[in-house]
Structures are given as C-alpha cells and as structure tokens.
Symmetry: C2
Subunit: 395 residues, 2 copies
C-alpha cells in the first residue's frame, strides 16, 4: 500500500494544514502594521493558551534557546540553583547552569521515575531558582509542578518550568500555582514546525533580571519585552512561523468553541485520550510503559519486548507504514524504548491507526512469527468509548 509520511514523534509533530497554508502565504515585513497586528494578537493568544496574565515572549529559536534565556536572564555567576532531573531534558538544565557559572544543586531520579517532594524540600536552602520539566519528553513521565510550586510559595525562590511538551498536554494553573517562567515550543502541541519558542515571565522574574549579571544579547528577555510593547520583536522574527502559530491558535480557539482557554482544555483532554488509548493497547499486547508513575499525555514511552531492540520497532513503523516514532534518547535509552507522541494534531483515526500498525510491527519482529491481531485495537477502542461516554455524561 501507499506510505504516507506521518509523524508520531514528540516534536516535530503532525502539522495543522491551515497553519501550513498560512505559513506558505505569509509575505510580510516585520516592521509593518500588518505584522504588528499579527504579533500582538499572537502574543495575546499565547497568554490564553498558556493560561496566564504574565507577559509572553516569543523568540526565533528552538526550545533550548528559551531554556538558555531562563538561565542567562535569571542568574549571576556563583548563584545557587536547584535542578530537578529524571531524564535528558532535566540534564540540559544542569548543562546550562554549568555553562553560565551557576552552582547547581540537583535532585534526580532514575529514568522512568520522578523525584519526591521531600527530596526537593531538603535542597531548597539558599536556592534562587528551581528548574524543572513539566513532562520529561525522554522518558514520558509527568513531574509534579503543582507540588513543587507549593513548596516555594511565600519564598523568594523562582520556579522555571520547561513545559515544551507539557503545554497543551497537561493542566497548569500558571498564575494560581505561581510558576514564574513556563516555556513552550512551536513544534509541539501548537502543531507547527520547529523554529519558535515562547515563555511567560512573572513580575518578580522581570524584577530579578535587573540585578542578574550573566551575559545575554539575542536572548535578552527585557529587550524583547520592550519591543513587544510596541508590537514588535527585538530581532527579525520568524514571520512565516508566526503566521502559522496565529492560525494554530485560531484552530485551538475553535476547539473551545470560540474560547481559547476552553480550547486549551480540549487539547489536553484530546492528548489524554490518545495517550490512554495507546497505553491500554500496549498493555493489551503485553508491553509495559517505561514511565513507572504518572505517564505523560504528551508521549508514551513503551519498553521494547525482552530481547528486541526498539530500533527494529522504529524501523518497522517507518518501512512498513511510513510512520515515524521516536527511539529512546541518549545511549541509556536508545534501543530500549520507543516513543509515540500524542501532543497536538492527533485524532481518533490517527491513534487507532498507529495501534493497528503496532500490532503488525510486533508480529513482524517476533520469532517465531506470533500474530495475534486485534487485542491492542480493542483495548484502545474500549478506552475511547469509555472516555467519550464520560465526556458526554459530563457535558
């Protein structure tokens, strides 16, 4: 059969067609009223999407650029920060802190797990910023942002959350909990290509920047804030991607029947359903999840069957069906797990289809050939039917 190229990777993800058209059609200079209108509207919509009253900054870079901005703008050499880590992206915080000469306390947990709030509490003394992930993309685990925020309530310690795969897949009460900085990226739940990162910044984080001493230029958030107040960006913005982002936020508003906050909730619910279907299917097929607790809705990290290299599963999806899923990230997880994404533009048909493909792929790598078609699909269907009934009952 025909192979369509389909991304089930946790970023880049499936592209929203209306955003693709908006990007292709975008011909605008960034110092014009047309662009300023788009920019102001997009920043306002991002606030609704994130669910915050704080200023949102948008930059041309990958999510790692916004992570760097959260370190270079909020620290001085010699400051003490705390990194909560249980995967590759948590480790990126430590690398960043090191690059900027910041003393780093670390609370870590093994891959596939999460740390305890008690362990965090013990390390907070003298810490100016806590850096964490909302969901750890490399392991498919969700971390307890609300719990950490509670520990910091009433203190001067800032909370920075990499929610690059968390936004649109997890509920965050950014202002209510007191998240000072929360970071998102374009190639995730907002359904457009990579190249943009965004972050919301609390008033006390803005204040902090007046005193910090680490160098920053392209990622100088205060400069961006000043420009944004005039409807512009400090440096040339990635105009076509911003046009795409505008279209994607319109789509999410449509998911909420004209209300972007409701659209955000619907998008989270959508990812939760796709993730629950996938987990149920994997378990029905005798597979186990890599996440030992709190599996993320953004991505399901699934252990390869004993004796099987997960690379063979990734290849099977690609070669047999044109579907791209992710291998494990880094030497420790590569070959052991495969990751199927749910963040953004996936519907029931996409989800049931990848489960169907998974059954074929598993059959093709099991020796002697062991083909039992259906149990994964049926489990996914049951989950869907249950959740749909529940949703209908609660409307």
């Amino acid at each position: 059969m025909l192979h369509k190229n389909r991304l089930y990777t946790p970023g880049p993800t499936q592209l929203l067609p209306s955003a693709q058209f908006a990007m292709a059609a975008a011909t605008m200079h960034h110092r014009t009223a047309d662009f300023r209108d788009l920019y102001v509207r997009t920043l306002a919509d991002l606030k609704s999407f994130i669910g915050t009253q704080n200023d949102v900054i948008l930059m041309a870079c990958s999510g790692s650029g916004a992570m760097e901005a959260s370190v270079s703008n909020l620290t001085s050499p010699g400051d003490k920060v705390l990194v909560l880590t249980a995967g590759k992206f948590g480790e990126r915080w430590s690398s960043l802190a090191k690059a900027y000469g910041v003393k780093t306390e670390v609370v870590s947990a093994p891959y596939g797990e999460t740390w305890t709030l008690d362990a965090v509490k013990e390390k907070l003394d003298g810490v100016s910023v806590v850096y964490m992930q909302g969901t750890e993309t490399s392991t498919g685990v969700r971390h307890d942002v609300e719990g950490v925020a509670k520990l910091l309530k009433g203190t001067d310690t800032l909370l920075v959350v990499d929610a690059i795969t968390g936004l649109g897949t997890t509920h965050f009460d950014v202002d209510g909990w007191g998240v000072d900085v929360i970071i998102g990226g374009s190639q995730k739940a907002v359904m457009i290509p990579p190249g943009l990162a965004f972050l919301s910044v609390s008033e006390r984080a803005w204040k902090k920047m007046d005193a910090t001493k680490n160098p920053r230029f392209y990622f100088d958030l205060r400069k961006e804030r000043k420009s944004a107040a005039k409807g512009e960006s400090a440096y040339t913005p990635a105009t076509s991607l911003i046009a795409g982002l505008g279209a994607a936020l319109d789509f999410i508003r449509g998911m909420g029947n004209g209300n972007l906050s409701d659209g955000r909730h619907a998008l989270v619910e959508n990812a939760e359903t796709a993730a629950a279907m996938t987990r149920a299917a994997a378990e029905a097929l005798g597979l186990t999840m890599f996440a030992k607790h709190s599996p993320a809705a953004a991505v399901s990290a699934i252990n390869a069957p004993a004796g099987v290299d997960s690379g063979a599963i990734v290849k099977g999806f690609r070669n047999q069906f044109g579907a791209v899923v992710a291998n494990g990230q880094g030497d420790e997880m590569k070959g052991k797990i495969f990751r199927v994404a749910h963040l953004g533009y996936y519907d029931y048909l996409d989800t049931i289809a990848i489960v169907g493909a998974l059954e074929h792929v598993l059959a093709s790598i099991s020796k002697p050939a062991h083909v039992e078609f259906g149990p994964g699909l049926r489990a996914a269907q049951f989950v869907y039917a249950q959740r749909a009934t529940f949703a209908a009952a609660t409307v």
Copy 2:
C-alpha cells in the same frame, strides 16, 4: 487597481515560490534519514553559495544570533576586539562585545560613509578579532572586506564579517582573502522567510574556541559542528525553513546552469543590475543616494527630497501600490531616507515597476503637484540595456 503585497525591504525579501511550496510540504522529523539527507545537502550547498571550503553551521535564529555566536565563541572577558562601524549593524557589534565583557576598540565613520583602511591599521595592536559588515544595511554602503582582510594577512587576528545582506549581493573570496567567519541569514538573498542564520568558520577560528571562556550553550558552534558531522543539528532545527532553503539553493544552482558557484555570481550580478537601475532612476528624478561612496547592491538608501519626510514616501508606496519599502533605521535616519532592496528574488519587471511607482509617489507628495512621468523609468531602461549588451558581449 488591485494591490498586491510586495516586499522591497532589505529582509524579509520577496519569497521564492518553489521554496514556499517546499516549506508548506515539509513534514519530517529531524532525527531521520530523510532529514539528514536534506541537512547534509543543504550545508554542502551553503558552502558553495558562500564560496568556501570551511565548515558551515546553520542555526534556528535571526542573523543577530549568529553575530552573538561569533562573539561568545571567539572571545573571553577582557579580550580586546576591534569593531568597524558606520551604521546600525556596526553598532550591534559593539553592543554584543559589551554584553560579553570584551574591551572594544572602534573605528567609525559617519552614517552613509565608510572608514579608511589607514584608520583600521592604526587600531589593530593587540586586537584578537575584527568585527565588521560586508554591507551596512542601514545606510546602503558597502565596506571593504578585502582591504581589511589584507591588513590582517599573516597576523593572528581573526576577521568576522556580517554579510547578512552581503552574501548574494557582493563578491567575497572568503578563503582567498582569509575571512574567518562570514554570516548570512535566510530572509535575505536566499529568498526565504526569516528564522535561519548560517556562518562559515575557518580552522583557526575553530582552534580559537578551545581557549575562549565566554558562556555559550544554544549558540555553541563546536557542538553544532560535531552534530553536523553526523548530519544533524545540536538542537531541534527549523525543519520547514531548511526545506525552503534547500529549494532556494536549487534555484540559485539553476541560475548558474547547474553550478551553484556560477549561480551565486549570477545572483550578485542580478542585484548589481537592479541596484544600478534604481540608482540611475533616482538620480534622473533629482534624488540623491545616502551612500556617499560604494553603494551596496543589496539595498539602495535614497535621500527624501528636501522638506519631505521619507515616511510619506514609504506610506505612498504602501497605500498607493501595496509595495513595502523601508524607512531609515533608528532615530537619526528615520524620516530622512527610504530604502529599496535588490537582494534575492527581483527581476527586471520588479525593478522597473518600483521605479514607475516611485514616480507616482513623488508626484503625489510634491506641492504644488509636479508630475513628470518617465525620466526615472528611461534611465533605468538605459542601464538595463547597457548591462545586457555588455553581458551579451562578454559571454
């Protein structure tokens, strides 16, 4: 009449349709063979486009991000560098050097002019890096890269050239002259939207990075080089823009009948012709160029007639014809000049058309109305006919 939105701004510029389609169609994950093929090919093509054997690094950011990389990777706090400046982008080098704690010597010239090589020579003592522009986009002046390179020949001082509007509009013999770093951006002569910057790096610049101490993470060039050797980028690349860049480089190769170096020369020649037509037209209409010497082919900066705010001319183009030209940049030049771009995807019809529109705009703002249609157009036509004859004679 109908107004089409057309950019005559020095970045973003007119988009190449085949690149727009490639961007819209790009659905790929960046850790796949498909993307690695595209990435490896694009980096190799960029080398031909720049005209260098040095490694080329491509990053998701605006040109200013690559400028920052050239400072953070090549300096340590307390180093002494030399900035050559005669406009807004020259001043950006000084701001960057300051942000990174680098001692900055400056050779400057008034806006619209360029500095002398003698002045540069006097300031070279103890300087580790010279930072300059190939063409200063804010004033439309071309600087003497070859002359500066000759001064540095045989010394340890590195030469870094912001050629963001210079590449594809000016001839650079990067390796022959000894340019250590040369920087380009996507929204310029390569005819795609903003969001990508690229730079070539000499072996001795790579060596230098082993000793420098300024912090860098997202813009860490050595990390990008290591990834590029495996056909990947260190952080998530702007996949759709890279697909567009690949298509644009194919187009430039086509301009050179299958040879990308020839295509680069043809692109430069094209910009030179458009610029010469525009300058001749402006002068025939009684206008003067802001550049007192060596006008750039990238962009023509034209003085507004005495007593006229150049903003009225910019508005006239926009409101009467849907054409976007740039005002002066910064308080000193805003209102005084308007800038018409020639870099990238402009042909004879685009050029003659903007000259025709200029005659209308000038007529509409002159009081009492003084309408003389034709002299600008005819001057532009003469230039074209002359250059075409010359080109035909030299084939």
